[in-house]
């Protein structure tokens, strides 16, 4: 609706809550954080302006490199895996078989177990003498020290957080439903097999959903802290010491607020870069210009 005269203010009144909230809880703190990142800012005592020293300090901080490489590695494994798996689940559900509603419910349910409770349940499943190792042993495999071996803790995190991708799955499901059936019919007449149809029709048509889910999971991977704190605590031997944990500890355990602010800004830049690189790459195969 287009309004004139004194009524022109009306739309702004409706969006006013968000504008106020954006200013107070996003723009102001984000700007303030950028400002803080230029300071040696402790919880008590003097605040000294130090320019870009916090950023330079990161280059010499081994913990920064460790946290960043752990997180990037985690994201590189988790993001394709979770996007792929949730797409697979959505494809399974997109066929109209009898009782599909029941399966939809079953596939979505793991999403309800999240956060601290998820970490506790998986801590129990992944224990050295836990049920997963029991399954592995009964299939003739070697038990894995999921949570106590630095080499496998990353996989424990990936496995745990992979469960509960129900929201992604639903986004794919609705995208799949929107692919026009005529396209498949035409392809069938042309003699295309199921894999060809998937590659040539389905993937390009659901491109925007893939892009959306990928970006959402990159952001989530970088912000991962709740499960890692409660499952591995960043260990063993800092093998799962993620970037968010690094920022959190600098801010709230060490009280090194200026440094923590600069850490957080580097994280924002990393997420932004990854997102833009991905958007760029996705132009090649996504049907829509994004």
């Amino acid at each position: 609706m287009r309004l004139s005269g004194r009524h022109r203010i009306v739309p702004y009144l409706f969006i006013a809550p968000w504008i106020v909230g954006f200013l107070a809880f996003t723009l102001f703190p984000a700007t303030f954080s950028l400002w803080m990142s230029m300071f040696d800012w402790g919880i008590v005592g003097d605040r000294t302006f130090i320019g870009f020293d916090n950023y330079i300090r990161m280059f010499g901080d081994d913990t920064f490199y460790l946290a960043m490489s752990n997180t990037v590695r985690y994201a590189l494994i988790l993001v394709p895996l979770s996007v792929g798996l949730s797409l697979g689940l959505a494809v399974l559900l997109s066929r109209d078989v009898r009782g599909v509603g029941l399966f939809k419910t079953a596939f979505y349910l793991p999403t309800l177990l999240t956060g601290v409770a998820l970490a506790i349940v998986w801590g129990w499943i992944l224990a050295d003498r836990g049920v997963l190792n029991f399954f592995i042993a009964s299939l003739g495999g070697e038990p894995v020290r999921w949570l106590t071996d630095p080499g496998s803790a990353m996989w424990a995190m990936v496995l745990t957080t992979c469960f509960g991708q129900g929201a992604q799955m639903l986004i794919f499901l609705s995208a799949l439903k929107n692919v026009p059936a005529e396209l498949y019919e035409a392809a069938t007449i042309d003699g295309a097999g199921p894999f060809r149809k998937f590659g040539r029709i389905t993937l390009p048509m659901i491109g925007p959903a893939i892009v959306f889910n990928t970006i959402i999971s990159i952001i989530a991977a970088f912000q991962q802290i709740t499960v890692v704190l409660n499952l591995t605590g960043g260990g063993p031997d800092k093998a799962t010491y993620f970037y968010s944990l690094f920022v959190y500890e600098n801010a709230f355990r060490r009280g090194d607020l200026g440094y923590a602010a600069s850490n957080a800004w580097i994280m924002l830049i990393a997420v932004l870069v990854l997102t833009l690189v991905f958007l760029r790459l996705s132009r090649r195969w996504s049907y829509y210009e994004v």
Binding site: M1, R2, P11, Y12, F14, I15, P17, W18, I19, V20, G21, F22, F25, T26, F28, P29, A30, F32, M36, L89, L92, V97, G101, F103, K104, T105, A106, F107, L109, P110, L112, L113, T114, G115, V116, A117, I120, V121, W122, W124, I125, R129, V131, F134, F163, L170, S174, I215, I219, Q223, I225, T226, V247, Y248, A251, A264, M267, L268, V271, T275
Partner: protein
């Protein structure tokens, strides 16, 4: 003849795959639940038992009473209710503004709204802490509740998408009848948005109910703790047996589970988006 056989084999294999995947996905739930009711002697048994010799429901009472969980539970209920009410209503108001009006700067503002979703919490948390501390909000529920009353980008986006599908003559008819803008919104659009509002409320219930970081940063008093914090502290105390932790974890899943079953149709998309066509 062979064709029908081929078709029914495909049908059967499809079900086999669906059932297998469902079993894998549900297993963590099953395992956590079964483990939570096992007698203590069976808990550490190896090979593990997949069905307990007896159901020890008292495990739940023991776990619940070992910490002030009733308190944590009520705190969680309070925070979740107030936050969900706020975010649902305010997001609907803002979405209405974006979806149903033409105004200057609309496109730029909407892009800005979407762009804010990329800002990690890590960037905001320290300044927010100082801001709340300045306002005297630390160790109260205000930091967990107040920001919800200013709309949340993801839900605003979700509701905007829906509101755009409603034909435009609708509010014009209402305005002819003499209703103001806000009354048109509350009496015509809010009822129409019911399924999408339910969806928003449920998605947000799951988020706030499980929120760990917010309460961890902004609350200090044990009396004010919510369930996730209580559960996490319980875990790190090391004295506690796994059974008790699993019991509390299972209790934590119950409210999201109820919310899910109440709004199943909206969440699973059997109905959502179809609100009003033509």
């Amino acid at each position: 003849m062979s064709r029908t056989i081929q078709r029914s084999t495909r049908q059967v294999s499809r079900y086999v795959v669906l059932v297998a995947v469902a079993v894998v996905l549900i297993f963590p739930f099953y395992w956590a639940f079964i483990s939570s009711v096992k007698p203590a002697s069976e808990q550490a048994a190896y090979p593990p038992s997949f069905w307990p010799s007896s159901f020890e429901w008292s495990n739940y009472a023991d776990a619940w009473n070992s910490q002030p969980f009733t308190r944590f539970f009520l705190n969680s209920v309070l925070v979740t209710t107030l936050s969900v009410l706020g975010v649902t209503f305010s997001s609907a108001v803002v979405a209405y503004g974006f979806a149903r009006f033409e105004f200057r700067g609309k496109k730029a503002l909407f892009t800005l709204l979407l762009a804010t979703m990329i800002i990690p919490w890590d960037v905001l948390v320290v300044p927010l802490y100082m801001q709340y501390s300045f306002l005297g909000w630390i160790n109260t529920y205000l930091p967990l509740i107040v920001p919800s009353y200013f709309g949340a980008p993801f839900y605003i986006f979700l509701l905007t998408q829906f509101l755009r599908t409603i034909p435009r003559d609708l509010e014009e008819a209402a305005m002819l009848d003499g209703a103001g803008h806000f009354r048109t919104f509350t009496s015509i659009f809010l009822p129409l948005m019911r399924p999408q509002l339910v969806l928003t409320a449920i998605l947000h219930t799951i988020v706030v109910w499980n929120d760990f970081l917010g309460p961890l940063v902004f609350l200090n008093d044990t009396d004010l703790f919510t369930l996730p914090i209580g559960l996490s502290f319980f875990k790190s105390s090391q004295l506690i047996d796994t059974t008790s932790m699993l019991c509390i974890s299972m209790v934590m899943v119950v409210p999201p589970l109820i919310a899910f079953f109440l709004g199943q149709r909206q969440i699973l998309g059997n109905e959502a988006g179809s609100g009003l066509k033509g």
